[in-house]
């Protein structure tokens, strides 16, 4: 039961969903350069069948992997980005938003859904790196905030799947304030003894890491995900030295005491199910 059925459903919906997972018949692994069919890839939880490399996937892929019978309901879709500062760098922010909306199924860098995992109700907020680098702006903060409101009202656990380069610079100090906003809201879950899980995937950096991603009752990550505050390029420029192998990867964070565990994508649903079951009052 469970897995195979859902994966098959995933295959059927692949053309309908604009997914981050590679389309077309063949997939060539970024890490080992081996080729596999997309069918093989999907049957292997969107990991390379040869080396286990976890491909970068999107919010809807995670919903498909996690929720029972592929059923879930979106929350907070009514919240949409606006270009409040009329920000323009090499491109106007409005154009960046339009382009991102066109190439993604997701309507902003985070999508929130409620459903059940192994029979346990949960709200999951998941990010899309293909939507302006998974950047945190007012919409991310507000969708998380509304997701938390639902959890508070219904006494349901909350999970955030992070995949983000950090703050959305085009929203300047308002994007910075989303760190404070999400922290303030998460403190209410804590006060009400409602579990909050932070699941970090490749990459999780900047203000996202320095707020809700590191505030989980339980923090865990996919293997070999880049997780940090400053990006590796900035650190390299600061210290003027090469960075050690494996620096800022999940395994490094686990070793330094910042993660509870690393979970292979194939075991994510089982492990989350266990935690939800054990923490249930």
């Amino acid at each position: 039961m469970g897995w195979f059925k859902r994966l098959k459903y995933g295959i059927q919906t692949a053309t309908k969903h604009k997914k981050e997972a590679p389309e077309g018949l063949w997939y060539k692994c970024k890490k080992c350069n081996e080729t596999s069919t997309n069918k093989e890839l999907k049957e292997n939880f969107l990991k390379c069948p040869h080396c286990g490399y976890h491909t970068r996937i999107g919010s809807y892929d995670y919903f498909d992997l996690l929720f029972d019978e592929n059923k879930y309901e979106l929350l907070g879709e009514e919240v949409q980005s606006v270009d409040h500062l009329s920000f323009e760098d090499l491109k106007p922010y409005t154009q960046r938003l339009e382009e991102a909306a066109k190439k993604n199924k997701a309507t902003d860098s985070i999508t929130v859904a409620k459903g059940t995992v192994k029979g346990n109700p949960i709200v999951v907020a998941a990010m899309d790196f293909t939507f302006i680098g998974g950047s945190m702006g007012s919409v991310m903060g507000e969708r998380i905030s509304r997701g938390i409101d639902y959890c508070l009202k219904n006494k349901v656990p909350f999970m955030i799947i992070s995949k983000s380069g950090g703050a959305r610079m085009m929203e300047s100090v308002l994007s910075l304030m989303q760190m404070a906003k999400t922290s303030a809201k998460l403190s209410l879950l804590s006060k009400n003894s409602i579990p909050y899980f932070s699941f970090m995937t490749d990459p999780t950096t900047g203000g996202v890491t320095a707020s809700f991603a590191m505030q989980g009752d339980i923090n865990f990550a996919e293997p070999n995900a880049l997780i940090g505050f400053a990006g590796p390029r900035v650190i390299k420029e600061t210290i003027k030295k090469d960075l050690p192998e494996g620096f800022q990867r999940s395994e490094f964070l686990l070793e330094h005491g910042f993660l509870d565990f690393i979970v292979d994508r194939s075991e994510l649903r089982d492990k989350l199910g266990s935690l939800l079951h054990i923490l249930k009052k």
């Binding site: 009514e78 919240v79 949409q80 980005s81 606006v82 409040h84 500062l85 323009e88 760098d89 090499l90 702006g137 007012s138 919409v139 903060g141 507000e142 905030s145 703050a167 959305r168 610079m169 929203e171 300047s172 100090v173 308002l174 910075l176 304030m177 989303q178 760190m179 404070a180 906003k181 922290s183 303030a184 809201k185 998460l186 403190s187 209410l188 804590s190 006060k191 900047g206 203000g207 890491t209 320095a210 707020s211 809700f212 991603a213 590191m214 505030q215 940090g228 505050f229 400053a230 900035v234 650190i235 600061t238 210290i239 030295k241 960075l243 620096f247 800022q248 330094h256 005491g257 910042f258």
Partner: protein, 319 residues
């Protein structure tokens, strides 16, 4: 005196003034009329320059080498102060200082970023860029304040949390994240004042509070104009443009609903008169303490959460 690029006309006038005074002294001449004329000119020029400052010029002012830092203010406004050191886990970060003190007899826990006043001290203070242990020391002090029902006052002035290898190893992100969630529920008043640079996570790591004010010539943004230029324009040459686009001045940030107000600086900026600046800041702190102290703790926390809950601008298609 150190003059910034855009203060060139002022620098020239000051040179003229000094020359005239010297000539007068040497020749035993009465130069009073010229001196007073020049002094008036200096004042009007200064007022003109300072009434039309661009975002980038404010950024430069916030980094003025003669600007007062946290320990300056503590010296000026506290009758009594005991500095407290260390995070009890790793070490004492010199880029964040803190301690117990009194202002007009009122107990406070003051915590602030600290920059150095000369080349040697700038290095010692790591240019005001904290490591994780700085944020952890700050939290330790806040917990002491909470325990003894003492208000927390923070002074924000950092170019950012330090982006170093060891900082990552010791969990820079976790340290800031923990402060944010703890400050959200800290059961005592928290007053925050941006006294210089308010750069990103490094600033907000001690910047979540019941009241947040910015001094007139400071900035608060998710990223410095230089880094923003390098990332979004892929060149270091757009810092002025980035400073405008980021809407990082006190007036802009107030307009976005992020801060409660702006604290005026003396004519010519905080660096022109440390004593007056400290007096102005002290008055504001006392006013904020007076306002917040009567509020019951549960209400205080509820208001704090509601304030941050509202932050952000978006379209709500249901409304």
């Amino acid at each position: 005196m150190v003059f910034l690029e855009f203060e060139k006309p002022l620098e020239e006038l000051h040179e003229q003034l000094n020359n005239i005074k010297e000539v007068g002294e040497k020749g035993g001449l009465d130069v009073t009329p010229i001196v007073s004329e020049l002094e008036q000119k200096i004042e009007s020029t200064r007022n003109e320059i300072y009434s039309n400052l661009t975002g980038w010029q404010r950024v430069q002012l916030s980094r003025h080498p003669e600007r007062p830092y946290t320990l300056h203010y503590i010296d000026e406004i506290c009758e009594d102060f005991v500095e407290l050191h260390g995070d009890r886990a790793f070490k004492d970060d010199k880029a964040i200082v803190g301690g117990l003190g009194t202002i007009d007899g009122q107990r406070v826990m003051i915590i602030g970023h600290q920059k150095g006043v000369n080349t040697k001290l700038r290095q010692y203070r790591n240019f005001g860029m904290p490591n994780p242990e700085g944020y952890r020391k700050a939290l330790r002090l806040m917990k002491i304040a909470e325990k003894f029902d003492i208000p927390v006052v923070t002074f924000i002035d950092t170019p950012g949390a330090f982006p170093g290898l060891e900082a990552e190893e010791r969990g820079q992100a976790e340290a800031i994240a923990r402060n944010l969630i703890e400050m959200a529920q800290l059961e005592t008043q928290i007053l925050c004042y941006v006294i210089g640079e308010g750069a990103s996570g490094g600033a907000i790591g001690i910047g979540l509070g019941d009241r947040v004010y910015m001094l007139e010539n400071t900035w608060y943004s998710v990223i410095s104009p230089e880094s923003c230029s390098s990332i979004l324009w892929r060149s270091w040459d757009y810092k002025e443009t980035a400073a405008e686009q980021l809407k990082l001045t006190a007036t802009d940030v107030k307009g976005l609903g992020v801060i409660d107000g702006i604290i005026n600086e003396p004519a010519g900026g905080a660096h022109a008169d440390h004593k007056e600046m400290a007096d102005i800041l002290k008055k504001q702190i006392l006013k904020d303490l007076k306002e917040l102290k009567p509020i019951k703790k549960d209400q205080l926390l509820q208001k704090r959460i509601e304030k941050y809950e509202k932050m952000g601008v978006f379209e709500d298609r249901k409304n």
